[in-house]
């Protein structure tokens, strides 16, 4: 709203009435919302804690002593989740963008690569990630290939890259296809080759446009590092499970869950912030 000369303008009596009504409504809405929140949360808390099995659940899932005892083991395992995530993420970005660019080519020479890229995206998106992780960790070493690591942490990281790379390539492709053809035409006019147009014109715009869904995939990836537990990587969830198996108490799993939340929430908020900033830029002041 632009600044008006306030001295020359007085709100009418009717406008003042309207404002009073709006204020009253806002107050009532806040009151109703608060009461509703208290009732719903209160009912949940009372409902759960007064369940006949609650004492047993509290002992087996929320035991502070067990949480403290298991914490060193779980946090040590959690370090592996973080390392796997940090290594996998850049690899996935490069792989996904590469596959998407190859799929967007039109040159006849590139046909075999396009076919491979399509096959890759189809196959690796089709296989459940947990299966892929298992096959990579247990199956690949069975081939006894020279020079291939038998360390399941790296093999599992490779499987996550392969699986997420396929998803991310589709996200990138959607971004590339969303860029208006006039951009390509303008690049042509400026004398840029197809490749130059892709690298300098299309991809930067596409990447910015798909940043929120990409970040969303990475939040998902952070949690899927726990899948490496099936190929005996002693990461947070498996460490917690191991403690659970010896002490018959599930609290360490809750500890692992809290650690994962601590890891994902900052990225979740960052994703929201990026999305809002993009809205502000693209809609130039229409959306606040």
């Amino acid at each position: 709203m632009t600044e008006l000369d306030r001295s020359a303008w007085e709100p009418s009596r009717r406008e003042l009435e309207r404002r009073a009504v709006r204020r009253a409504r806002a107050r009532r809405d806040i009151l109703v919302a608060t009461v509703a929140l208290v009732i719903v949360v209160g009912a949940l808390v009372v409902g759960i804690t007064s369940a006949p099995g609650w004492d047993r659940v509290r002992e087996t899932f929320f035991d502070w002593g067990e949480a403290k005892a298991a914490f060193p083991q779980v946090i040590k395992g959690f370090g592996k989740n973080v390392v796997v995530f940090l290594i996998a993420e850049p690899c996935i970005l490069v792989l996904g963008a590469g596959v998407a660019v190859v799929r967007s080519t039109v040159s006849p020479v590139m046909l075999p690569f396009r076919v491979l890229a399509v096959a890759y995206a189809d196959v690796f998106r089709g296989i459940p990630t947990i299966l892929l992780v298992y096959l990579a960790g247990i199956g690949l070493p069975a081939l006894e290939l020279q020079g291939l690591t038998t360390n399941t942490m790296w093999l599992g990281t490779g499987a996550l890259v392969a699986s997420y790379g396929a998803y991310v390539s589709e996200v990138f492709r959607a971004g590339i296809e969303s860029i208006h053809p006039s951009q390509l035409a303008s690049a042509d006019t400026l004398g840029l080759s197809r490749w130059q147009a892709m690298i300098y014109v299309i991809l930067p715009q596409a990447t910015r446009r798909v940043a929120p869904p990409l970040l969303n995939d990475f939040i998902s990836l952070q949690k899927d590092t726990a899948l490496l537990s099936v190929i005996f990587v002693f990461e947070a969830m498996f460490s917690a499970q191991d403690y659970t198996n010896y002490h018959f108490n599930y609290t360490p799993l809750v500890v692992a869950a809290v650690l994962f939340i601590c890891l994902t929430i900052p990225l979740t908020r960052f994703t929201d912030w990026v999305a809002r900033r993009m809205m502000r830029r693209e809609f130039a002041g229409v959306v606040k």
């Binding site: 198996n245 018959f248 599930y250």
Partner: protein, 276 residues
Amino acid sequence: MLVALGCAPQDSTTASDTSSQPANQTPADCAQGKTLKDGTLTVATDSPAYDPWFSHNDPSNGKGYESAVAYAVAKQLGFDQSSVKWVKQPFNTSFAPGPKHFDFDINQISITAAREKAVTFSDGYYTAAQALIALEDSPIANVGSLADLKKYKLGAQTGTTSLTALREDVQPDSDPVVFQNTNDAKQALLNHQVDAIAADLPTAFYITAVQIPHSTIVGQFQQQSGTPEQFGMLFSKGNRLVDCVDQALANLKSDGTLDSIEQKWLSQTVSVPVLK
């Protein structure tokens, strides 16, 4: 809240009162009305059910040590073979809070004090020595002492006494590799992802004899720290049937049945070298 109370019956937490039972009561009298379903004894184990504890992954065939023990206990409790019902129960949910779907779970579960906070165990029915399994052509196959094992990469299944023995008695230089189940452990050994895997001796015997060609038992060792752990049957906390099962086990021990079952299914374990 009344609805919640109605659909979630409280676990019975009171320990059974043995003093009120007459001294000459048989296990069968004792078990009257204490099973999940009258006239049926519901017994649980994990799937797959491994040899030599079970046979052909079918607990109901009476073959394999634990299957035979379960049926012997059932007979003592007054249940014939056809009134024993087997259910599948993964180990890592067998101790979950809430009602259980079995009378007892027999699945090579070691009795420990920490675990007894969450469940009730029967008396032990088997004390397992631990053994290390390696491939014949591996250098570790000729190791003769626990101290010489430290430099190798060793692994065992989570939740087992074998893994505890590695962690506390062997203490290898790199943390032991932990497996979800025995099959993963076997595959990792074949893949050279570990130099040796630990398991209880009967399992080790079966693995080397039948499942992994060119594998060998490096040696057996008793758990050094504390008293050796025994396998017990797992009951929901405070289950009243446990006293009847303990009675039945005592009978089977004194009349030699348990020994003969062990002879039949776990007999080859004596000739393995002992690691110290």
